[in-house]
């Protein structure tokens, strides 16, 4: 993996290096001492003052960085006022194949995430803290475990964080899947309600937050909500980590101000001038022709008008001359293979639409795959326990809309000789869900 810290995040937006300020060029994790030298000590609030962090998070306008973009303070309040002693779960699963930012953050600044867990736990009154990582990434588990041991020796946290190595599947990072696994079950999404905020780990109100979100909480706890807002453009607040991949010459993780012009973020990574389209939000995202999105802010508000959102901050540039539909077909096939096979519409619907899109992209239609897609896509939406089918449908529909001319021509049996656009991804293939 390549991470571009030196120069890139800071040079491209003055004062935007926040989460990345302690990242070392060597890729080594910042030790507790280095971390403290960079950010100052972990603030130690007591009693009622702990709760004030939630107000600061609200003032900051912090939204979840895991994909859904929900206001973090709202969730914290809901958990804090729930029935029973709250639990906090930090989500470091990063199952989105195109995203690397959570791994980069945890590998280089584990203490920033652990500070965030500590402060948020205090703010909501949690008596239990968990950090969930993918079992397949031993190197990351080792780094984080070393950091928690360092903190334990320093007697830093009121609530000790338990690091978990969870099964690695696309849908296992969904919050109900984390809770179900922590409760002794399989790492598969659960039917809702109840949502974890009302009834989660051990039936207690549970705050599930992405690790980047918690790293921002660590900084808001130190410097305040008003400070957080000093970064951010076009109505969005703070900074965000973005993973930029595909047809760029410096793929990697960048820290940018939320709301930065999407085209500028792609340029930072050295966008191939011939690239014409981009997948925004990763495999759970949407395809767009570059001219329609290049000028829009990379934020939920900025991308809403084109039916998109930054998701977990992923941009995948389609290589010049590549077929977007073929790329979308591959992504869809991957998503179909990563279904938990729990709900009929997902289990049977996703493979069916993946077949349709593959036939269409290959220009070898059996019947009329384009018509079948237009009939099947809307039927699958909102009919899973989780939003896996919804995301897959949205991704496929965006490809049909953005590459409509290609779709028409392929439907008439004309394949394109385009190169393979998105790196082939097989499922994580670790079979077991427990």
């Amino acid at each position: 993996m390549t991470y571009h810290h030196d120069g890139s995040p800071r040079a491209h937006g003055a004062g935007t290096g926040r989460l990345t300020s302690s990242w070392q060029a060597s890729g080594a994790p910042a030790t507790l001492r280095e971390h403290t030298a960079c950010y100052g000590p972990l603030p130690q609030a007591t009693g009622r003052a702990r709760r004030e962090l939630i107000d600061q998070v609200a003032a900051a306008g912090l939204t979840g960085r895991g994909g859904a973009g929900f206001p973090t303070a709202t969730k914290m309040r809901a958990v804090a006022s729930g029935r029973g002693r709250p639990v906090i779960v930090a989500n470091g699963m990063e199952s989105e194949p195109a995203s690397e930012k959570d791994q980069a953050l945890l590998a280089r600044s584990p203490h920033l995430v652990l500070d965030g867990i500590s402060l948020a736990a205090d703010a909501i009154g949690a008596t239990e803290a968990h950090l969930c990582l993918a079992r397949t990434r031993d190197w990351l588990i080792d780094t984080v475990a070393a950091a928690t041991a360092e903190r334990h020796r320093a007697g830093l946290d009121r609530v000790a964080v338990t690091v978990h190595a969870m099964p690695h599947h696309y849908v296992s990072s969904e919050e109900t899947a984390l809770v179900r696994w922590l409760n002794g079950g399989e790492a598969k999404p659960a039917n809702t309600p109840p949502r974890p905020f009302e009834r989660g780990v051990g039936k207690r109100p549970t705050l599930v937050d992405n690790v980047e979100t918690l790293a921002h909480v660590a900084l808001i706890g130190r410097y305040g909500g008003a400070w957080f807002r000093r970064a951010g453009r076009a109505g969005a607040t703070g900074t965000m980590l973005a993973t930029v991949t595909g047809a760029v010459c410096r793929p990697g993780v960048y820290e940018v101000e939320a709301g930065t012009r999407t085209g500028d973020v792609l340029s930072m990574a050295g966008l191939d001038g011939g690239s014409e389209a981009v997948l925004i939000g990763g495999y759970f995202g949407t395809w767009h022709n570059l001219p329609t999105v290049a000028d829009l802010p990379l934020s939920a508000g900025g991308l809403r008008q084109v039916g998109s959102s930054p998701g977990a901050g992923v941009l995948v540039a389609l290589p010049a001359g590549a077929c977007g539909l073929a790329g979308a077909a591959k992504v869809l096939r991957y998503l179909a293979s990563e279904s938990a096979q729990q709900c009929g519409p997902c289990k049977f619907g996703l493979p069916a639409i993946a077949d349709d899109l593959t036939q269409l992209a290959a220009g070898r239609p059996d019947g009329d795959p384009l018509a079948r897609l237009h009939r099947r896509l809307p039927v699958l939406v909102g009919r899973g326990a989780c939003r896996h089918p919804d995301g897959a449908v949205r991704m496929a529909a965006s490809a049909l809309a953005s590459f409509a001319a290609d779709a028409q021509s392929h439907a008439q049996g004309r394949p394109c000789a385009a190169r393979q656009p998105v790196a082939a991804q097989s499922g994580f293939a670790v079979g077991d869900w427990r």
């Binding site: 598969k188 309600p193 069916a352 899973g384």
Partner: protein, 72 residues
């Protein structure tokens, strides 16, 4: 009083009885899984209850469900 028809998608295995008993609100997709209009008008409450009871997977229930804090 209007009620909501809730389905546990992970429990449903596509028997399809519900669509036979309550065709006004439930149809099946091409794989045999229900597509539901979830608001049950008072006139259909009895039929809805029958569909709930008949479901072999116990995947259906009726509830007054004001859902707060919807994720996304």
């Amino acid at each position: 009083m209007t009620q909501k028809m809730l389905i546990d998608r992970t429990a449903c295995t596509g028997h399809g009885l519900c669509a036979d008993l309550l065709p006004e609100l439930i149809e099946l997709d091409e794989w045999g899984y229900p597509i539901i209009i979830d608001t049950v008008p008072s006139g259909l409450t009895a039929h809805a209850r029958r569909a709930v009871t008949a479901c072999p997977a116990l995947a259906l229930r009726l509830a007054r469900a004001p859902r707060q804090y919807e994720h996304r």
